[in-house]
């Protein structure tokens, strides 16, 4: 294998030396015909420019037809649909700009190749033109900025409102745990120094809000109901990424981050819509977090609200009743205060 590699390199170099020598010799033979040589280079490269433009754009359209169906299906959340809509507007603007500028660039390069009988047009300033291509982008961007910002405000406002079913996503190397807040919709407080083998989230068992908290290794969400994710990490930065819902928020040790969203389609509906009976939602870690980063994930299911209630009943409490008393190693009072911002 090694010998082959070395041989390939040596052979490749020899070919290049040969090519360069031939080229040098050829230019010597043609005498001082540098001009003619440049003229031919100009012709071929300018044709290359227009060919690259035409072939490039055609291949681009072909590839888009081929690959766009492989990208994410339509959003399965309320705000996700708005993001998709915004994305469409942006893409339209960007594609128009892309086509205009690339066509002008490569077409001019093709059209104005060197001709020794011609002088270029001595044209170095024009305030009117400069004004046009300052003002038009400004107007277009003003529109994009305003629509983008208002959508962003809509999304983040919901996260700040604290409405919806509270679910904690607890990240560590290399898995996620979901904790449902239960009937009181309040998470019991937790503290990293309380973490033990049997209490991997460091939850305070003496907190009244803990009693009805439920632990799950799968994220199951009811359709059409607002969900409030409360995101924590206990070691490094992770990221909670739910691509089908257009949801992403980092999990940062030492602070709680939030993301609120409303699923609009059940898994079954998505299977029908995508024509893929095996379709599943997914939560992925999207911030480099260690060697097994690429395997850090959690299955996600969206079901009808009634089914959700049923499922919830089958989940285990943080501290199963008989253990609750025994496991009660109360965290220091001051630590509970610093643990979770509520």
């Amino acid at each position: 294998m090694n010998i082959l590699l070395i041989l390939a390199v040596v052979f490749g170099t020899l070919v290049l030396v040969r090519l360069a020598n031939v080229a040098a010799l050829a230019s010597k033979l043609s005498g001082e015909n540098e001009e003619a040589e440049q003229e031919s280079a100009n012709r071929w490269n300018s044709i290359g420019m227009i060919a690259f433009l035409i072939i490039g754009l055609s291949v681009m359209v072909y590839i888009m037809n081929l690959y766009l169906p492989l990208t994410l299906p339509k959003a399965a959340s309320e705000h996700g649909e708005a993001i998709d809509g915004l994305m469409k507007i942006n893409w339209t603007v960007l594609f128009i700009t892309f086509f205009i500028t690339q066509i002008l660039l490569f077409f001019f390069a093709y059209k104005y190749r060197y001709n020794k009988n011609r002088r270029s047009f001595y044209f170095h300033d024009n305030n009117k033109l400069e004004a046009i291509w300052t003002i038009i982008p400004t107007i277009v961007l003003a529109a994009l900025i305003t629509t983008g910002m208002s959508e962003w405000n809509e999304i983040t406002k919901k996260s700040a409102s604290m409405k919806g079913i509270v679910v904690q996503i607890y990240a560590k190397q290399f898995d996620f745990t979901a904790r449902y807040a239960g009937k009181d919709n309040k998470l019991g407080s937790s503290f990293f120094r309380s973490i033990t083998d049997t209490n991997p989230l460091g939850i305070d068992s003496s907190d009244a809000a803990t009693a009805d908290d439920l632990i799950a290794k799968e994220l199951v969400l009811p359709k059409g109901v607002e969900v409030q994710l409360m995101i924590n990490s206990r070691d490094v930065i992770h990221s909670v990424y739910l691509p089908h819902f257009r949801v992403q928020m980092n999990a940062v040790p030492g602070m709680t981050t939030r993301f609120a969203f409303k699923p609009t389609k059940t898994t079954a509906e998505m299977q029908k819509e995508t024509g893929n009976p095996k379709f599943e939602f997914i939560m992925l870690c999207n911030k480099i977090c260690g060697v097994a980063h690429y395997n850090m994930k959690m299955p996600v299911r969206v079901v009808e609200p009634a089914e959700y209630e049923e499922w919830l009943k089958t989940q285990s409490a943080v501290f199963p009743k008989e253990e609750a008393a025994a496991a009660a190693t109360p965290a220091p009072a001051d630590s509970a205060a610093t643990s979770m911002s509520k």
Partner: protein, 617 residues
């Protein structure tokens, strides 16, 4: 280190002369023959800016190829995750046992590839080479303001490169937390093996790198402000110099912040502080250090990190401005608008860092502010693009290899810049953040544009560096294969991002929905290999032409700027006689009435009555 006393004294004298505005006429170069260069003083510990430029370029080429090899290895892993690649064990030893790439080493490769490309190739390689080469030559100075600091800058860079290379060979592997080395991952060896000694070496290397960059930048700035020749008003400087000037200012203002971020990280790692650490439970025990914030690091990092994008890009745009104008035989359109837009971009680059942090849990209001400032960058960028296109319009284009790369740069700058509008819009960023969409975006707008600018610069100023021409035919093949290779690599990559594939994944096996994307990964890797192989044509052409290239004439591209008034053979002090005086701007190409289609900056208006316009005085 040997410092040539003759040179430094001479420089002092020049500085004086310039400051007092005396004439340069009596400046014979009397110290040309009263010292002898040996190998060490000429090639290694040189204080001559031209030699230092070449030193930078050669190190950058070496580092660039190394980082490119790394990318090819991990691209093969992504395209053929199940295949056994028998050569891996030969190349990377235990990390490629039985032809399987180690997942930890995959992350190390990604990390070091990014670090080398961003800092060692596109920052030091680009600014280090061309600022050093062109600032004195295009301004009419005998050397940099301080030749010694300049040499020191290169040697810090070399040291930093050596440390980074050394870290590749250690037992626990090099830093592997991504090129942004976010703590806590980078602070805790328990979290990933690469955060042990590898990370320490990474930080030490970066400290030397920052020192090198600052020494260089301070030198560039003082040279540009103080050592311009008579008549070289700021508004007569070529756009290359403007770009280097603005770049150097950006570097001076932002690199110290990276140094602060790195030092705090060193403290957290080694001295028990917790600037970035809080509420951490790792390796079966709670960490004693608490009360810090990992987000603080991100703010500090990206306060450098975003200007860094323009530290990389502006020199490339400056080189392209010069190359496109010269080869279009036409003045650059909107000289002042080009300077203005660079200044605006530079200013904005300091207030947009938060767009890297939309989904970190940063205050959402701050997010909106950063959307606003970020998308504003598109305006000066659009101005630049339209000005380039207008420069081509009705030009008289000579398709030299550097011109092709210049045009390629404008194309990638457009393509990558446009997808930046998606990423800068926080609402849209949510779903593409940290996916392959980002990877595609910055490789096109920053990676490709900057490297195209660098290639344009190398082909254009090679005769100035080595007195010979590079082979044009090989240059053409190099360009076309590179252009096709890079669009073939990075265009399909956008779709991976739109399919929700996260970056820095060793394999896309976590989710069944990614299974049908393997075809895209095949395409990407095949084009990456094509593009990678094409670089060997360049490598060969470069080193072959140093010895065997066709001898260059004094002004091979019929250019207006001062560097082409120096003799082909290098000499200390650049001009054998007096420093030339400048009488006009650098872009008098194709001027109506002129005898030729270019008028050098040294030609006074009194000698060109046939082409003077009413404004020319």
């Amino acid at each position: 280190m040997e410092v040539n006393p003759h040179n430094s004294m001479a420089h002092g004298a020049h500085a004086d002369e310039h400051a007092h505005g005396h004439s340069h006429d009596h400046h014979g170069h009397d110290h040309d023959h009263d010292h002898e260069d040996n190998f060490w003083s000429k090639y290694i510990f040189s204080t001559d800016h031209k030699m230092i430029a070449k030193q930078y370029l050669n190190v950058a080429i070496f580092m660039g190829f190394l980082a490119m090899f790394m990318s090819l290895i991990f691209r093969m892993q992504l395209a053929w995750p199940d295949a056994k690649l028998p050569f891996l064990e030969d190349v990377i030893g235990k990390w490629g046992k039985d032809g399987k790439l180690d997942p930890g080493f995959y992350l190390a490769l990604v990390t070091i590839h990014g670090t080398i490309m961003v800092f060692f190739v596109l920052t030091a390689g680009l600014s280090g080479t061309f600022s050093n080469l062109l600032i004195p030559l295009q301004l009419g100075a005998r050397d940099m303001a301080s030749g010694f600091l300049n040499a020191l800058s290169f040697w810090f860079f070399a040291l930093s490169s050596i440390i980074m290379l050394f870290s590749l060979g250690i037992e626990t592997g090099p830093a592997s937390g991504g090129w942004t080395v976010y703590p806590p991952l980078s602070a805790l060896p328990q979290a990933i093996p690469g955060s042990g000694l590898g990370m320490t070496l990474w930080l030490v290397s970066m400290v030397f790198f920052i020192a090198s960059s600052l020494l260089g930048s301070i030198n560039y700035i003082s040279t540009i402000i103080n050592l311009r020749t008579k008549g070289m008003a700021m508004t007569r400087m070529p756009l290359t110099i403007w770009a280097f000037f603005i770049t150097a200012i950006l570097g001076v203002l932002s690199f110290p912040v990276l140094l602060a971020a790195a030092l705090l990280l060193v403290f957290d790692r080694s001295f028990g502080t917790s600037f970035y650490l809080s509420d951490i439970f790792i390796d079966g025990a709670p960490l004693d250090h608490a009360g810090g914030s990992p987000i603080l690091y991100q703010h500090l990092f990206w306060f450098l990190g975003h200007p860094e994008v323009y530290i990389v890009l502006l020199p490339a745009l400056g080189l392209a401005s010069e190359v496109i104008s010269v080869n279009s035989r036409k003045p650059i359109f909107g000289y002042k608008a080009m300077i203005g837009s660079m200044l605006v971009i530079a200013f904005l680059s300091f207030i947009v860092w938060g767009h890297h942090m939309f989904v970190t849990g940063m205050n959402p209001f701050l997010g909106s502010v950063f959307v606003f400032t970020t998308l504003l960058v598109a305006i000066p960028s659009a101005v630049k693009v339209f000005n380039y296109i207008t420069t081509l319009w009705r030009g008289n284009i000579q398709f030299t290899p550097q011109m092709l790369f210049g045009i390629g740069l404008v194309s990638t700058f457009i393509t990558g810049g446009l997808t930046g509008i998606i990423l800068g819009d926080s609402a849209l960023d949510i779903n593409v953040h940290d996916t392959y969409f980002v990877v595609a975006h910055f490789h096109i707008v920053m990676g490709s544009s900057a490297i195209f600018g660098m290639f344009a610069g190398v082909y254009h100023w090679f005769p100035k560096m080595y007195g010979r021409l590079m082979n044009k035919k090989l240059g053409y093949i190099h360009f076309w294969l590179t252009l096709i290779g890079l669009y073939g690599t990075f265009f399909p990559m956008h779709f991976l991002g739109l399919a929700g594939v996260p970056r820095r994944y060793y394999a896309n096996t976590a989710y069944d929905g990614f299974a049908n994307l393997i075809n895209i990964n095949h395409v990407v890797t095949v084009f990456a290999i094509i593009g990678g192989l094409a670089q060997f044509i360049f490598l060969f052409n470069f080193y072959y032409s140093i010895k065997n290239g066709k001898k260059s004439s004094q002004n091979p591209w019929k250019s207006n700027t001062l560097e082409w008034t120096t003799p082909i053979e290098h000499l200390h002090g650049n001009w054998p006689g007096a420093i030339p005086e400048v009488h006009r701007w650098p872009y008098d190409y194709g001027k109506p009435g002129a005898k030729e289609d270019f008028i050098c900056q040294t030609v006074p208006f009194s000698e060109t009555p046939e082409s003077n316009t009413p404004h020319d005085h």
